[in-house]
Symmetry: C2
Subunit: 187 residues, 2 copies
C-alpha cells in the first residue's frame, strides 16, 4: 500500500509560521513558541523534532460526510499554500472517552444532524482552506490536528466559524483544545 | 491519553497457535509457517519480531455499527481466551482504494444495508469470538487483521460465516485476503 501522509507541527524557533497567539480553549495549554513549522511526510515522521513541542497526525478518509456532503465540500474547497493565505490556525483537539464509546450513528447524529459541523464549515469555503489530521489511534497526544489557512481579511470570519462550532453539542465532548493563530513570516 | 492497544501476529516457530492451513483467498499469499504468536501490547510494538512475517494493527472504535447493532453484539459476544475455543482463524484483509474513497454513507450502505456484515456476524455469536485490529492508517501491509476463536465443533459454522461474507457486495472491494486456520498447541 501507499505510505500514509503524515503531518508534523513543531513549535519552536523554526518554520515559516510566526505565532500571533496561543490560547488553551479547554484542558492543558501548550507552551508559547515563536514559530511553528508544518511539514507533511510520506509515512510517520521518525526523526526527532527540535522544538518545545511536536504534534503529529495522519491524513485519512472522512468519517461522517455523506456522498452529497463530500461532493459539496470538494466542489468549493480551496487548497493549502495559496499566496494570499498569509494567516493560519492550528487547533489541536481531543475528545472524551464518552465520544469514542458512542456508536457510529450516534456520533454522526451529534456531528451533523444536531451540530451541523459540515454545514457550518461549508459556509466558510473557499475563503478558509482546511486539512484534518488524525492522531488518536496512533497514541498521539491529540485526537485531531485541525489546520486552516486564510487571508487576513477572513480572520474575523474564521473567529465566527470556531465560535459557532464551540457552541455545538459536539463540542461538549471536547476535553482539550488549543487555539494557535499564525501568520506567514516575511520571505 | 491511554495507550492504544495493539496486536501483533508473528508467523514462525513460536506461539501457542499451530498452523492447520494458510490459503490466499485473493492477492499475494503469506509464507507458510509452523506457528503463529498473538500478542497484545499497550502501544505499537517497537521490538523486532523473529518470524517469517509479522502483522500488526490496533484496536479502535467501531466505524459502522449503530447504537442498536452495537448493543446487540455486546449482549451476545464472547471474549477471547475461552478454554473450549481451541481453534482460531487469522484473516488479514486489505480493501481497494475505491472502497476508501467512498463517503461514510456509501461505505455503511455497502457494509450493512446491502452486505449485512454485522447481521451475518451476529448470527454466529457467541460461538465465534472475534476481534478486529486496524492497520491502514498506520501504514501496515493489511487494512485489517480479523481474529476469531471457536471450538472445533464450530469450524464448519465458521466456514459458512466467511463463505457468506465473501459472497457480499462488500467483498468486491477486498483486494487481498489470506485465510489462516490455527489450533491451540497441546500444553
Amino acid at each position: 500500500m501507499a505510505d500514509t501522509v503524515w503531518a508534523r507541527f513543531v513549535g519552536g524557533e523554526h518554520g515559516i509560521w510566526q505565532t500571533r497567539s496561543i490560547r488553551a480553549v479547554c484542558g492543558e495549554p501548550l507552551t508559547h513558541v515563536a514559530r511553528v513549522a508544518h511539514e507533511e511526510t510520506a509515512g510517520r515522521p521518525t526523526t526527532a523534532a527540535a522544538g518545545a513541542w511536536s504534534l503529529a497526525g495522519c491524513r485519512s478518509h472522512g468519517r461522517y460526510a455523506t456522498r452529497d456532503e463530500k461532493a459539496a465540500l470538494v466542489r468549493v474547497e480551496a487548497g493549502l499554500g495559496r499566496s494570499e493565505a498569509t494567516r493560519a490556525a492550528l487547533i489541536p483537539i481531543t475528545k472524551s472517552e464518552a465520544w469514542w464509546s458512542l456508536a457510529q450513528d450516534e456520533r454522526r447524529a451529534v456531528f451533523e444532524e444536531r451540530s451541523r459541523h459540515g454545514a457550518i464549515g461549508l459556509a466558510f469555503l473557499p475563503a478558509i482552506a482546511r486539512r484534518l489530521y488524525h492522531g488518536r489511534d496512533h497514541g498521539e497526544v491529540f485526537d485531531f490536528l485541525t489546520w486552516f489557512e486564510y487571508a487576513p481579511e477572513h480572520e474575523s470570519a474564521f473567529d465566527d466559524l470556531v465560535a459557532a462550532l464551540r457552541e455545538t453539542e459536539e463540542w461538549r465532548y471536547v476535553v482539550r483544545e488549543v487555539d494557535i493563530r499564525l501568520e506567514r513570516a516575511p520571505a
